[in-house]
Symmetry: C2
Subunit: 223 residues, 2 copies
């Protein structure tokens, strides 16, 4: 058996991504160390939660100084990032697709959008936000050749399942689905739905009830 899985809680993974961003901000501010209560203040999680999350990835600080900002960023990268970077394909170059392309092509990170696809002949062949757009017919071959690991689906609901099937056939192991429909995929493919209607309805529900409020994560996300 492998040398004991660390087994980081599901929710912690999402929060680490946020802590990393805070670490980057702190670094840009020239800060070298940070206390859990300060990460708490910037993320909305409790200080105890921050400490527990960092504990769960085996990252330790010192009572005197708190946590080292650069070490924190490095440790989170070790957990979240794969050494060769994450290769992502985006399918559906509408407004939403363009927004996501612009977002990821703007900053450098472990994630790179290596191809975009669209059914429309008009969009295919063009370059949007620095990413070449291919016709959807090229998807299976190109995703395989480029070693795409994650697909982002930003097509209308009625095309989403078909796209998901193509992505899975092309060897994709994870899908972020923005279409308002649930996808059927084989075991071994991880799907996360980002359902804008659901999020707005949920916020509406808690906004209208509730005197007291709290933050949450889309799950989840939002994710």
């Amino acid at each position: 058996m492998a040398p004991t899985k660390p087994d980081v809680p599901h929710r912690t993974i999402a929060r680490l991504s946020v802590y990393r961003r805070v670490a980057a901000t702190l670094r840009a501010e020239g800060r070298l160390t940070v206390y859990s209560h300060e990460i708490s203040g910037r993320t909305g999680n409790t200080a105890a939660q921050v400490r527990r999350d960092l504990m769960s990835i085996g990252f330790t600080g010192s009572p005197a100084r708190g946590y080292s900002v650069p070490d924190l960023a490095d440790r989170i990268a070790e957990v979240l990032d794969s050494p060769e970077g994450l290769r992502v394909a985006l399918v559906g170059v509408g407004n939403l697709g363009r927004a996501i392309l612009a977002y990821f092509l703007g900053r450098r990170s472990n994630v790179s959008v290596v191809a975009a696809f669209d059914a429309s002949q008009e969009k295919a062949g063009r370059v949007t936000h620095g990413c070449r757009v291919f016709p959807a017919t090229e998807l299976p071959r190109l995703c395989r050749d480029l070693g795409v690991q994650v697909g982002v689906i930003t097509v209308p609901a009625d095309a989403a399942q078909e796209v998901a099937d193509l992505l899975v056939q092309a060897g994709v192991k994870g899908i972020v689905n923005f279409a308002p429909t649930r996808l059927r995929v084989v075991r071994g493919v991880y799907v996360e739905d980002v359902d804008i209607t659901t999020v707005v309805e949920k916020v509406g529900y808690f906004a209208l009830r509730n005197g007291g409020a709290m933050a949450d994560e889309p799950e989840e996300s939002g994710t």
Copy 2:
């Protein structure tokens, strides 16, 4: 004390939104009844979970027939929707903002986007996807006058906090935040972050580990 709050679990609220969509699809297919295992198949939740969710909103079916499709849709509407509809303002008419406008103005639902705002003079005054775009300076007055309950923030990260403050001052009780930053708001305002970087990183993490997989829901965000 009020006549006993039903107190529907947090996560159930998000799933109800999905069940409602399934109910609408079933209705369109002419189906009058549905079994929990079928809702399960269409949403990826277990049948037991579906039954427990429906139980928690006091909705019952019959062992012989399952659940009534129209009654289900009605009951979910009673729980999620406010009688007068949810009034939403969208701030930031970039690609993402336009995508969301297009989405909500396309279908009729309890949610209506009653105003959109943008800092750019160029965009203000125009009509996008059937929704008039106002300059950001009009936000406080207009949101108050229109009785906006929920704000959707689709501006860049560095403007998000400022926008959130304006929305809260204008009496908004819920915010859906698509900017990659955590907002500070007073208690009583419900914030849900939909963080696309976080979602992609999370999917990347579970896609690369994992032989077995499962679906999930943003919140937490993602939504």
